[in-house]
Structure formats: C-alpha cells, structure tokens
Point group: C2
Chain length 138, copies 2
C-alpha cells in the first residue's frame, strides 16, 4: 500500500473479525516497531505479542479500558522500564509513542485495523508487576 | 512510495542539500502530523514550520544540540503545553512521539530525509518561553 494511503486509512477500531493474523504479518509489524528510532538508541522497550485467546483475556484485565484486547486477534504489549526520573520518563514515553505509530502504520499497510492504545492501559502495562504478567503472556 | 519502503528508508541525517521543500510537500507532512491520534483526541500540540534561513538560525540556538536546524531546508517545531502533572506529561510526550513518527514517515515517503529530533532540544521547545520564541519563527 502507498504510504499516504496507510497514513490516511489508519483508524481506531475496537471490533474485530475472527480471522487470525498471519505470522509473517506479525513479524513485519514487529520489524517496523524495532526499526523505530529511540532516544540515544536506547531501545528501552520490549514488544510482546499475545495471540492466545486465554492469555488475551488475562491481558484484557490488566486495565479496565482494555476489554477490547480480549477480542483481538493479537495484541502487542509495549513493555518499558518504570523510571522515577522525569526526563528519562519523558524519553521513554516519547519513544513508545514513536514505536506505537510505526506499529499502527505497518498494520494499516497490511489492511489490519488496530486501535490506538488506551493511554491508562499503557501505564498499567509499564509497571513492573504488569511487566511480569505481560511477559507470561508471550 | 510503498509504506514498507518508507519505514525501511527512514534514516537520521544531519547534512542537507540546498534544495527547498515544495510547499505542497510541507502541507502533506503537516497533514500526516495532524492526522496522528492523540490521547483523548486532545491534540495538545502546535506544528510550527520554519523555512526562513534567518529564523532557522535563531531556532538552532534554542538548544546546543540543534545546530543542524540552521542548515535545514525546513524545520517543524512541535510545541506543546508544559505540565507539572506527571500523567499529563506522559500523555503529551507519548503523543508527540506518535506525531514525530508520522512526520518522519511522511517525509521519507516524499524522499525527504530528516533527523530524529534530539531529545533535549525537544524539551527546550516545549517550554512556554520557547513556545513564544518558536511561534515568532512561524
């Protein structure tokens, strides 16, 4: 798909078909994620793909606004270190934003509709306790 | 350009040709910016394009790591409110990251190479005093 079409066709959706996403499509979306630039190239992120229905249901309970995760064909959890340093925290949030946009456009390019993340959900996923929980879903 | 080619061809560069960027190309890059999703659709951002050589030189002095701005054909300053609320600050940083990625990919699609922002520079631009300074450059 042309880049401009991907940029324009990206939409936030929260209802999904039952169709699974091909592994090679997930790989491409993840490659777009890790190709994203980051502050000082620190890449302070892990991208955890969850496709197991029961694990998606568990992941959906991480935060009250994440119920759509349970119905998704796949969810990528962005897991990042928690920092009390305001500047480091800014850098991490900025980089996660960049990675999220890469993921959304790579998915749009493949005709896969995904929602923008609910922001509070993302906070939840960034905590260390959730990090463990998310990692178990991979 | 195919989306995947844009994602793969995006590179950080800090040396530039003398060639001006066509106004319609700048418009397209800005449209990609404002099409970016934001937390609660708050769009807490202004995108300020600077193409005037003297104003670019002034903008380059906003932060010590921004010297390449002076040599750019155009620079887009992302101007956002400053917040002391940690959660709001996270949301803003995340959204600015998403917008930056949109801008970079839209530019890559047009064959325009741009650097990822130096992060400290971005902080400078986010302050209210710099907001005034950046706005005067528009």
């Amino acid at each position: 798909m042309e880049t401009w079409d991907a940029i324009r066709s990206r939409r936030n959706v929260r209802s999904y078909s039952e169709r699974a996403i091909a592994p090679e499509d997930l790989d491409r979306i993840l490659e777009a994620a890790w190709r994203t630039p980051s502050a000082g190239n620190q890449q302070a992120w892990d991208f955890v793909v969850c496709t197991d229905r029961e694990q998606l249901a568990q992941l959906a309970r991480v935060f009250r606004a994440a119920s759509h995760v349970a119905r998704s064909a796949a969810t990528i959890a962005l897991v990042a270190p928690k920092s009390d340093d305001a500047q480091m925290r800014d850098l991490i949030q900025f980089d996660l934003g960049q990675a999220t946009m890469s993921i959304m456009l790579a998915a749009a390019d493949l005709g896969i509709r995904i929602p923008a993340p609910r922001r509070r959900a993302r906070y939840g996923w960034s905590t260390s306790s959730t990090r463990r929980r998310a990692m178990r879903s991979s």
